[in-house]
Amino acid sequence: MSIWRDIKGTIEPFWITLRNMFRPVVTVEYPEVRTELAPRYRGRLILTRDPDGQERCVACYLCSAACPVDCISMQATEAEDGRRYAAWFRINFSRCIFCGLCTEACPTMAIQVTGFFEMANRNPLETVWEKEELLVDHCGQEPDYNFYHHAGIGVAAARGENPGEDKPVDVKDLMP
């Protein structure tokens, strides 16, 4: 009968909550105690460099397109040698939800997550990070990849000199 079910449904939770009161708490007392982060923990983002020490980010706007909260903004520009890079690159960490979608979108392995998460701040403007602060001096989790060696448009090496490329063709050649 439904009335018994209702009464049971009202009484039973009391038992559950009562039991809970005597269970050990699960809270980790954060500043004193630190948990072990998972190896793929998604914390603060960094911009890494390629093995040659150049900025990896080519300012392709893919991460900003992937970001569900639109917290990445940038402006691409061109260097003397044709390299595309970010004139400025900004992440607003007070908006970032650390979902890591930007890192998945990144075709050059430039933007990567780290285990660093202590960014709380009283001044919201200080949680807006610019490229200078985001850029690190290492390759992060991807030690080998160098986008411009595979791009096939001759920035890191001359055209036709990268792995997997033939020398530029001579269009005026008539040989078969």
Partner: protein, 331 residues
């Protein structure tokens, strides 16, 4: 020292004591509630201020006192300022009639452990609890905000509805004790507490009391997630604090009333009466907190439905049954 002066001093001391105890208790009840709720949810609760978070109430008071006292421009200023006081004062006044122990002898005087043993204590209590509605209603109305107004309207109709069954649940008690004085009611329970004599009345009163306290599962006037705090949305700082304290004093009052009406007041073996009384009141308070940690909020129509279609007929029935029982016993 003339005798009237002694009596006066005693009364003043009693008043001061009750006042102090009540306010401190209310403050720590807040802490207890947060701790208990924390434990129910496998958290430690507040534990940063002082050992075990014991200084938390103090920190809260300081915080509330130093916050900006904000009055909305469109508010009815006088009523807005008056309402929280009204809420706290009515709650405090009710305690005047609560007997919290058997009379004791001090300096050769028999001192009743009640501020004022009115022979119509029950009616006084019911009257004041109705007055308490004003604090909330005026607060909600004066804020001139849709949330507050909605909260106030909800609270008003809820309290009126449940007051009815609450009053009716007390009729059997009065019939059993044959007195309106709270002290007499306690005395009548010397052998068996009324909770056992008339469990139905106890249950109805208990439920109505929770409703009266505007706490979960009956916290529709506040309903944070739909009314953003209800009647006290627009209040801040110490004025909000007054509403808050009022609510917890009210909790203690209701606990005391339950104790007095149904749990045998200060009656109990071995321990002194005051201690028994305190234990019972505190247990009822704990029970209220426990309910809050356990049950979800009702829907508004469920609340009204339950009040008018179930509780009210039941309490009327109970009055008739009790009367019949008493007649049968006499006859």
């Amino acid at each position: 020292m003339p005798e009237w002066m002694v009596i006066l001093l005693l009364i003043v001391a009693k008043l001061g004591l009750i006042f102090m105890v009540l306010l401190t208790l209310a403050a720590y009840l807040v802490l207890a509630e947060r701790k208990i709720l924390g434990r129910i949810q496998l958290r430690p609760g507040p534990n940063r201020v002082g050992p075990f978070g014991l200084m938390q109430p103090l920190a809260d008071v300081i915080k509330l006192l130093t916050k900006e006292d904000f009055i909305p421009t469109q508010a009815d200023k006088w009523l807005f300022l008056l309402a929280p006081g009204l809420a706290a004062v009515t709650a405090l006044l009710t305690f005047a009639v609560v007997p919290f122990g058997p009379p004791i002898t001090l300096f050769g005087h028999e001192v009743p452990l009640v501020v004022c043993d009115l022979n119509i204590g029950v009616l006084f209590f019911l009257g004041l609890s109705s007055l308490a509605v004003y604090g909330m209603t005026l607060g909600g109305w004066a804020s001139n905000s849709k949330y507050s107004l909605l909260g106030a309207i909800r609270g008003l109709s809820q309290l009126i509805s449940y007051e009815l069954s609450m009053g009716l649940a007390l009729v059997p008690v009065v019939m059993l004790a044959r007195s309106f004085s709270l002290t007499d009611i306690v005395m009548a329970q010397a052998d068996v507490p009324f909770a056992l004599v008339n469990p139905l009345a106890f249950l109805i009163f208990l439920i109505s009391a929770v409703a009266e306290s505007k706490r979960i599962p009956f916290d529709l006037p506040e309903a944070e997630n739909e009314l953003v705090g209800g009647f006290h949305t627009e209040y801040s700082g110490m004025r909000f604090g007054l509403f808050f304290v009022g609510e917890y004093i009210n909790l203690i009052i209701l606990g005391s009333m339950l104790t007095v009406f149904f749990l045998g007041g200060w009656m109990g073996p071995f321990l002194p009466g005051v201690v028994w009384f305190s234990i019972k009141v505190l247990f009822v308070c704990f029970f209220f907190i426990w309910v809050r940690g356990t049950l979800p909020r009702l829907r508004y129509d469920q609340l009204m439905h339950f009040g008018w279609k179930i509780l009210l007929p039941l309490s009327l029935l109970n009055v008739i049954l009790t009367g019949a029982f008493l007649l049968w016993r006499q006859g």
